[in-house]
């Protein structure tokens, strides 16, 4: 789930660091690690596991935004595609780190939420933290997930970088906790390119 995209290409001028004699960029700081295909991979806090049909990149959890039950993967970088896993978010917990007194607040998850309310929570997340300017619900329908009665939510959004993105979330509330896998990608090319991966992961998902 995407936050404001502030990286400007001007950043390049800072990153071509040979002028100051240093190594390229951040000197190999590994923000992403490799997800190996065709094996069971625990995600989030480990309460859910999936099998990926190909290699993906897993974002290291930042110590600033430590939400243990949430994990993000990407294939081409977060501007273009991403899959987020929520592995059993408890009642009254946040799905994203925010300042406690932020003017605009993404609602906390509540165990009593119905799928339309969870869909609304995701919409607020993208509008508040993702720079979504326009939001369209494409579909909200029942769909079994992790053996429970869940839902599938399809949507698309125009973001402040003028790009349309499209997404699908499949989730369920089990024992008062939210389990969710969400895919979000540039509508042109990138959504269709990784949707089969997402579907395979949803089908493979198990609680642990």
């Amino acid at each position: 789930m995407r936050v404001r995209r502030h990286a400007l290409l001007a950043g390049i001028s800072l990153a071509l660091a040979a002028c100051s004699g240093g190594p390229n960029g951040l000197g190999g700081f590994a923000y992403y690690s490799l997800v190996r295909p065709n094996r069971v991979v625990a995600v989030g806090n480990g309460a859910m596991a999936v099998v990926s049909p190909r290699e993906w990149n897993r974002a290291s959890r930042s110590s600033f935004t430590d939400i243990g039950t949430v994990e993000d993967w990407t294939l081409n970088g977060p501007y273009l595609d991403s899959i987020s896993f929520v592995s059993g978010l408890a009642n009254d917990k946040r799905i994203i780190h925010q300042e406690r007194k932020a003017d605009r607040q993404v609602p906390r998850f509540r165990a009593t939420m119905t799928p339309p309310e969870i869909a609304s929570l995701l919409e607020s997340l993208y509008r508040i933290e993702g720079g979504a300017i326009e939001w369209r619900t494409l579909n909200l329908a029942p769909r079994p997930f992790l053996g429970a009665a869940g839902f599938q939510y399809d949507y698309e959004h125009l973001d402040s970088d003028e790009l349309w993105r499209k997404g699908r979330a499949v989730g369920a509330v089990i024992d008062g906790r939210l389990y969710l896998i969400q895919f979000d990608a540039a509508r042109s090319h990138y959504y269709a390119a990784a949707l089969p991966d997402f579907e395979a992961m949803v089908v493979s998902a198990r609680r642990r």
Binding site: Q105, P107, T114, P116, S120, S124, L140, P142
Partner: protein
């Protein structure tokens, strides 16, 4: 919860103005200002020509942005309104309406303005909007961008050691594709749009003169600031903090309260006793009718609870309807506690009693009833929703709710 009602806020603000604030001495007499720019104005000096060329590229990007609201009638309306209050350069001014849910408008040095949809949401009538457009036009008529640029250049030349430590100032301004919000933050352009107190006071003074000449109530500009102050204060109160927002309009402009006080004083001088002033409320509401649900939706979904509450209640001073009650309910629902759920349920119930209630009001009314255990009433509401919006994207889910 918050005891800050809009009325107490306005009473406080009004009193300050009535008894004359300390800002009175700094107020600029509207009669003392005359436009420096006439019809067909062209840039004069090298720095101004460079600025115009750069801005031509910016305008091209903005004009081609998919963040603009395309509604031709609404765009004609805005263009027509700036034509009434834009002073001698009216035929040269251009207005672009960008879909950004912020209370903001900005004038670029070549005579085009970008108005955010969040501004249209908050205007109660045409007179208030005319005031904002007149203020923005005045920046152009008084060549503020150029004067500000020269002032900044002079100052930064003197204090450049401080600015060097401040980090990258310019140079990053080359990449314009997209993001109007980001655009305004880019180095040089940011500098151009950040006016000082003096220039804002000038734009207010000339602006109020322009709307008075066009026959709009001079007091409408001060009202806009009262509304902004009220919104900031309620937004902060709900989050239990001091009213201080460190972004855009509030950081770059003089304190809204000072401006409101000065504008009230100027309005007193410009208002002709006994004259009936145009507010243009019906015209305004007709012009924004097609996008008003979107304007409310974009604001409420940001879940700035106090701001949304203030905006909805301010608009409802001209009368409640199904649309406003529904979005009141949405704003309360997003506050996300059992107490507010109960209040949201009351708003949804009130909304569906109006003939103009949107279909979504029936859906959320139905969900609220279901969560309250009122199954039969819930089913009736959800069935009504499906009848009103049979092809709604969430219809499959709602049908399942009805089946269970």
């Amino acid at each position: 919860m918050t005891s800050l009602s809009r009325r107490t806020m306005l009473a406080g603000a009004g009193a300050t103005a009535l008894f004359g604030g300390t800002a009175a001495s700094a107020r600029i007499d509207p009669a003392s200002l005359t436009p420096m720019v006439g019809p067909g104005y062209r840039p004069q000096d090298p720095d101004e020509r460079g600025m115009w060329q750069q801005m031509a590229r910016v305008e091209e990007e903005i004009a081609g942005s998919n963040l603009l609201v395309q509604d031709p009638a609404l765009n004609r309306y805005l263009q027509g309104l700036v034509g009434k209050v834009g002073g001698p350069a009216t035929s040269d001014l251009r207005v672009y309406l960008a879909r950004v849910p912020e209370f903001n408008a900005m004038m670029f040095p070549t005579g085009f303005a970008v108005v955010f949809t969040g501004l249209l949401l908050r205007m109660r009538d045409e007179a208030q909007l005319a005031g904002v457009l007149a203020h923005e036009s005045s920046h152009f008529l008084l060549k503020h961008q150029l004067r500000q640029w020269r002032d900044t250049r002079r100052k930064t030349d003197i204090y450049s050691f401080a600015s060097m430590l401040g980090g990258v100032v310019g140079g990053a301004a080359g990449y314009y594709t997209g993001n109007l919000d980001q655009l305004a933050q880019l180095g040089t352009i940011l500098t151009l749009l950040r006016y000082n107190r003096q220039l804002e006071a000038e734009a207010d003074a000339l602006g109020i003169k322009l709307i008075a000449q066009a026959g709009y109530a001079p007091l409408s500009m001060a009202e806009t600031w009262q509304q902004l102050i009220g919104e900031i204060e309620l937004s902060a109160a709900v989050r239990r903090k001091r009213p201080d927002r460190g972004y855009s309009i509030f950081a770059d402009h003089p304190a809204p309260r000072d401006r409101m006080i000065d504008l009230t004083a100027s309005a007193t001088g410009l208002t002709v006793p006994g004259r009936r002033y145009d507010r243009g409320r019906e015209r305004y509401l007709a012009a924004i009718a097609a996008i008003r649900p979107t304007l409310l939706d974009d604001q409420v979904k940001l879940n700035d609870a106090g701001a949304s509450q203030y905006v909805i209640q301010t608009l409802a001073q001209d009368g409640w309807n199904g649309l406003l009650r529904f979005y009141e309910g949405e704003s309360l629902r997003l506050r996300n506690t059992p107490d507010y759920d109960a209040r949201a349920a009351l708003s949804y119930a009130a909304a569906v009693a109006y003939p103009d209630a949107p279909a979504d009001a029936w859906r959320w009314h139905g969900i609220a009833l279901m969560k309250a255990g009122r199954r039969d009433e819930s089913h009736a509401a959800l069935q009504r929703y499906l009848a009103l919006a049979p092809s709604a994207p969430d219809a499959p889910f709602v049908r399942q709710m009805l089946a269970s």
